[in-house]
């Protein structure tokens, strides 16, 4: 069942067309990657999903119901962080959560708030004013705020921006826990493409305000050619072998002794075997197929 | 209020044409001396241009020779001249010369005018015209011309305390100079439509109605101490 359906979404700011035609759907239980280069219309689309921005055209449905007509009901079941979580700096973490709990559409007890504070690892700091919090702590508090009312759908816009590696891993693990343990549906917009590749099962890529491709992450990646980066001890022999036996392949020198080769999946095994046989001294073979390549390829079109 | 006394001063003296001004005045002053002290309730009703004031109630105290006090809970407006200063002025015969003037009937009372001219150049009073009934030794009208506040006219009515020369009603008519209020201070919103046109000088009246006189019952000096 589609939890989120976006059909032909468009948004104009005066004469500027921020979003021209974006469509995608997110199924129940998906961790859905929402990708696009800067200025593609990602942020505008997500703000439309959360009714921060009024679309010029198109339709947004949550749980089969129009967002426009069922705003309050829908938002009761949605939790989100848009860009960075901002709080009332002059209030404590706990007081901030109390404020948002009060208007979450659900009855949330003080105990539940405390449990959420414990869950995101802010116990002991709940009485401190947010003005003294680091970016990472605010991000955790943002996640607490997002999950406080036990939403069915979680929308995270660049949730790891500004986090240190440890913080990034924590957020990634948290999303996986939400998916696996609580069966939440997560829509995740991120510049960390590797993150999406690791944790998303479905994705959409938009560019210049339009949907470029939508589908299962692994199926999409399967369709593209497999690339390898090969380092050799004897470049002369390597070049001769390629020219003689694999002349149809596209090969490019990355740096001295290291080459980037584009190929189909079925060529990989015989190529490596042949290179070993010719004695060109294979030192390393690195698979380079990635969402990053796919993303660049798609958005360059 | 001392003015009340003043009148009392002037009360003495008959209506005889044979009397001199000094004799008529002496009669009045002698009669005043009958009153050692008195207190009375007074109702003050003022109709003064530029001032709107409700009827006020006060208590007045007098004790010879010049102790005088007004005690009011609220704000009471009284004339500045004619209340106390004239009394003191008249009691010192060396400070003025009195001239007998015309006969005049005031409110059906036959009176003689005595014009009093101060001999002291620094005196606030320039001229006091006192209309005295010589048959009753009562003052029925006083017209004071002063340096700083123009002319004050006082009419007297008597009732129960005629014998002491204490009036039961005094009507003051005073000159009020045009009242100028900076616009920034008075910021009422409908100035323009409301503002009346006043002349430079307007007449205002203050009517004092006395009641519950207690005469010569003794008043402690403490009453006159400033609070």
């Amino acid at each position: 069942m589609a939890v989120i359906e976006v059909s032909h979404l468009a948004k104009n700011f005066g004469s500027f067309h921020a979003v021209k035609d974006v469509s995608f759907h997110v199924n129940e239980g998906d961790v859905f990657g929402f990708l696009g280069p800067n200025g593609a219309g990602k942020s505008t689309t997500i703000r439309c999903l959360l009714s921060l921005i009024r679309p010029t055209d198109g339709e947004i449905k949550f749980f089969g119901k129009s967002l426009n007509q069922n705003r309050s009901e829908v938002l009761t079941r949605v939790g989100c962080i848009i860009e960075k979580p901002d709080f009332y700096k002059y209030l404590s973490a706990q007081r901030n959560l109390e404020i948002f709990a009060r208007i979450s559409g659900k009855d949330i007890t003080k105990r539940q708030i405390q449990e959420m504070i414990d869950f995101v690892g802010l116990n002991g700091r709940e009485g401190d004013k947010v003005s003294g919090f680091s970016h990472g702590m605010k991000q955790r508090l943002g996640i607490a705020q997002t999950l406080l009312h036990n939403p069915d759908v979680i929308i995270l816009d660049e949730p790891t921006t500004g986090l240190d590696p440890q913080g990034i891993i924590e957020v990634r693990n948290l999303i996986l826990r939400l998916r696996d343990e609580q069966k939440k549906t997560v829509l995740l917009s991120s510049h960390q493409l590797s993150e999406i590749e690791i944790i998303a099962n479905r994705m959409v890529i938009i560019n210049q305000g339009k949907t470029i491709v939508e589908g299962n992450v692994h199926e999409l990646l399967e369709k593209q050619s497999m690339n390898l980066e090969i380092s050799v001890a004897n470049p002369t022999v390597f070049v001769e072998t390629i020219q003689r036996d694999f002349s149809s392949l596209s090969v490019r020198l990355v740096y001295q002794g290291t080459y980037h080769i584009e190929m189909e999946e079925d060529i990989r095994q015989p190529l490596i075997q042949r290179l070993v046989e010719t004695g060109c001294g294979v030192k390393a073979v690195i698979p380079k197929r990635s969402l990053e390549d796919f993303f660049i390829k798609m958005t360059e079109k | 209020m001392k003015s009340v006394l003043l009148f009392v001063f002037i009360l003495s003296g008959g209506f005889g044409f044979g009397q001199t001004a000094e004799e008529i005045l002496k009669g009045v002053i002698d009669k005043i001396d009958l009153v050692e002290d008195y207190q009375a309730d007074v109702q003050i009703k003022a109709a003064i241009p530029f001032i709107k004031v409700p009827i006020a109630k006060a208590k007045i105290y007098f004790k010879q020779k010049d102790k005088f006090k007004v005690e009011s809970k609220g704000i009471a407006i009284l004339p500045k001249q004619g209340m106390s200063d004239l009394t003191g002025f008249l009691s010192n015969e060396k400070k003025y010369s009195a001239v007998l003037g015309e006969a005049k009937t005031i409110n059906e009372h036959k009176t003689r005018l005595i014009s009093i001219l101060p001999t002291d150049e620094n005196s606030e009073i320039i001229l006091a015209k006192v209309y005295i009934s010589t048959s009753e030794d009562l003052i029925y009208r006083t017209v004071l011309t002063t340096k700083s506040s123009g002319t004050v006219s006082i009419d007297y009515e008597y009732n129960l305390n005629k014998k002491y020369g204490l009036p039961n009603k005094m009507t003051f008519t005073v000159d009020i100079k045009k009242f100028k209020m900076p616009k920034s201070v008075a910021s009422d919103i409908r100035n323009n439509e409301k503002q009346k046109k006043y002349k430079d000088n307007e007449k205002g009246t203050i009517v004092l109605t006395f009641s519950n006189y207690l005469v010569n019952k003794g008043i402690s000096d403490d009453v006159f101490k400033k609070d």
Partner: protein
């Protein structure tokens, strides 16, 4: 949801330092006036009665708590709007500046609900300021200076109102003053819906008050037709309560014009905020 968010809004106001700047400044101003009256109140009274002093003597306690309350109200009606807009001008724009508007607007409360709860909170804050003004000026002044009849200075002269006739007048005056301040609060909230930080709404509110006040005092006939409809013209309507007889129809007219301003300004705020794309 509306009341829950109103509680939130009141809580935010109660925990923000700027909310106390207004109350603190108001308290300080009133204490300064009270101190000045203790030190030199007699000469102030002299200024009031000077025009009559040569002819008339004023007996009784002129410098009393009622007069001081009246003076304070008259002096502060210009300044309290600034103190109020300091808080109310920040209500929407402050959320925009801090980014919390995103958090707020993605909750199940409607945009109308957000505006109304902020407006109700602004109203309560304005009410508290008015009550505080009334308490300090009336009760504290009466405690320090005692009570008595009130001398009111009008451009036509003096009016003396008996003490027994004052309690209801002060109550009604404070109610009308509240209405005027409520209009200012709603105005700054309206500006707040158009701004991304609180400086703009505060400055705009004061600019409008100053501009309208200047237009109101200019004796130029071109403005005559709009003067009766400018809210600043009616900000001093509370003063009419201290006339005798007090002009009932004029007071009602002022009340209606102020209420109409509040309704229109609130309508503009609702329209603007409902249409607004939150892009911050």
């Amino acid at each position: 949801m509306l009341w829950k968010n109103t509680i939130n809004e009141l809580l935010k106001i109660a925990t923000k330092i700027r909310s106390y700047i207004g109350i603190g400044a108001l308290t300080l101003l009133i204490l300064i006036v009270l101190f000045a009256m203790i030190a030199d109140g007699k000469s102030y009274i002299g200024f009031v009665t000077a025009s009559f002093e040569q002819t008339l003597s004023f007996n009784g306690k002129i410098l009393n708590g009622n007069l001081i309350a009246f003076i304070i109200m008259q002096m502060l009606i210009v300044h309290v709007p600034l103190l109020i807009s300091l808080v109310t001008g920040d209500l929407l724009s402050g959320e925009e500046a801090s980014g919390t508007i995103r958090m707020l607007a993605t909750k199940p409360i409607s945009r109308t609900g957000i505006v109304l709860s902020k407006w109700i909170a602004a109203t309560i804050y304005t009410l508290i300021m008015t009550v505080w003004l009334g308490f300090l000026s009336l009760f504290v002044a009466k405690w320090m200076f005692g009570t008595g009849d009130l001398i009111v200075l009008n451009s036509n002269g003096l009016l003396i109102l008996p003490e027994a006739d004052l309690a209801w007048r002060f109550a009604l005056a404070l109610l009308i003053a509240f209405l005027a301040l409520w209009t200012v609060a709603t105005l700054s909230l309206a500006f707040s819906a158009f701004a991304k930080n609180s400086v703009g709404p505060i400055v705009s509110t004061m600019s409008v008050i100053i501009l309208f006040t200047i237009i109101g005092t200019l004796d130029v006939s071109v403005f005559d037709s709009i003067k009766p409809y400018m809210f600043t013209t009616h900000m001093a309507a509370w003063r009419s309560v201290f006339e005798d007889p007090y002009p009932t129809s004029a007071i009602w007219e002022s009340v209606l014009i102020l209420v109409a301003h509040i309704a229109v300004l609130l309508g503009i705020t609702l329209f603007r905020f409902n249409k607004k794309d939150i892009t911050s």
